[in-house]
Symmetry: C2
């Protein structure tokens, strides 16, 4: 029976009991280490091994964990699945095929909010992964509440152990964060105020006019509108506005001409 943490851990972004990762008969220490590293990227810290082929501790695992020491140092090892799973309220098993078993099948994306909700209610949840080449056996599928299958290219599905752990962990992490799909990263700047950009545009349009750019007067309003659209959608900072004005002036030989009054 594992210790139940009583405090949120910073590594898990505040989640008291994130899903436990259980590796059944992992073969290579390298893969265990890489799985540990994949876990920590996703705020998962509890790793359990059942009959690791090369025993434990494993220096290849430590070497490959590359800084995910907190996972390696707290890894628990078991002889029997029942002991590794004993305290878990829900168990999921990762496999590509359910084989004969009649079983609920989740995608990682479907499972993640479910895990979040149940963990939020105090449940302990685990996700099992099988040995690297052979995967889990039917007995492991029978032990689980449900199966998780990663939907990928049916013509070529070939994830290694750490990648499978990463994808399930990634979906777990995504279900708890709130990063916008898209944002403009301003890095301590902010977009220049509209009138500053307007003055830049006026400067630009003046110089274009002086250069004979607007050859057809009837087309000028549409062309000016297009130009404004280009520059207004860029979220130009003050510095960038200055840069553009400087470029315009230089191209127009500014040292020899007075700037327009703006």
């Amino acid at each position: 029976m594992s210790d139940t943490p009583t405090a949120a851990r910073p590594e898990t972004a505040g989640v008291v009991n994130p899903p436990v990762i259980i590796l059944i008969e992992p073969q290579l220490g390298d893969n265990i280490g890489k799985a540990a590293r994949a876990m920590l990227n996703c705020g998962l810290v509890d790793l359990r091994l059942v009959r690791p082929r090369d025993g434990w501790p494993n220096e290849r695992a430590t070497a490959n964990a590359s800084g995910a020491d907190i996972v390696i140092d707290n890894t628990k090892v078991f002889e029997h699945e029942d002991d590794a799973l004993a305290d878990l309220n829900r168990i999921y098993v990762t496999t590509a095929r359910t084989r004969d078993a009649v079983k609920p099948v989740f995608t990682p994306r479907g499972l993640a909010p479910e895990m979040r909700a149940n963990i939020g209610k105090g449940e302990k949840i685990g996700v099992m992964f099988g040995p690297e080449r052979t995967g889990v056996r039917n007995e492991h599928i029978a032990m689980a509440d449900a199966v998780v299958t990663v939907p990928l290219n049916p013509g070529f599905t070939s994830l290694n152990l750490a990648q499978a752990v990463l994808l399930i962990g990634y979906e777990w992490w995504q279900a708890g964060v709130n990063v916008p799909d898209y944002q403009m990263m301003m890095n301590d700047s902010f977009p220049a105020a509209h009138d500053e950009v307007a003055r830049m545009l006026a400067h630009l349009e003046y110089e274009l006019d002086e250069s004979g750019f607007f050859r057809v007067e009837a087309k000028r309003p549409a062309m000016e509108r297009n130009i404004r659209n280009i520059f207004n959608r860029m979220s130009l900072t003050h510095q960038e506005v200055q840069t553009i004005r400087g470029m315009v002036s230089a191209m127009r030989g500014a040292k020899h001409k007075p700037k327009p009054k703006t």
Copy 2:
């Protein structure tokens, strides 16, 4: 300039021009091979390398591609970024930090539907990844339309090259598939009809009654309801119903008792 495929390729699940993956100065052949394999899992087939450290072809890459030959065999190599990017309408660069640049930032999940929509309109899109230890340089960020950043544990974000490619590819794949978040996998069976389950429950309740299970008559309706709820939510197949009836009968010493008429 790369050849434009004119037919949908089965490896890409029918997408004529899935996103191109561009690796800038990849260091280890192993990592190139693993990236190629990650790509094919996600229906990505077009790999371009800019100044690979160890040249090309690379037998470590081939060995690590483990069956993703179609990617390795069609990999294109360039001396200059401009040539690798020349035909692309939109370019994204994967990095953890935008540094000084004012740049739109997508999550992989936010980017994927955008890529799908634009590719659907005939655009060619590429995603750049930098050298393994150092990542992309500022010049690469400047070449791109936008940045992609994978939101992961800020306390430990340590993805290797193949994992970063996998996560972007995974989101690309998910944005094009329609796998239910959850389904009950029946594997050529289907749930037994309601009346078959009802007869099983009647049999069970009869045997429970005969064994003195329902000790408090007033509680019986609620207990029967609980029992029915358990068995009705399992999507029991015909075979499973038979199994349960067999278990009930055996426990009640069925060989010595006539079965109830059902």
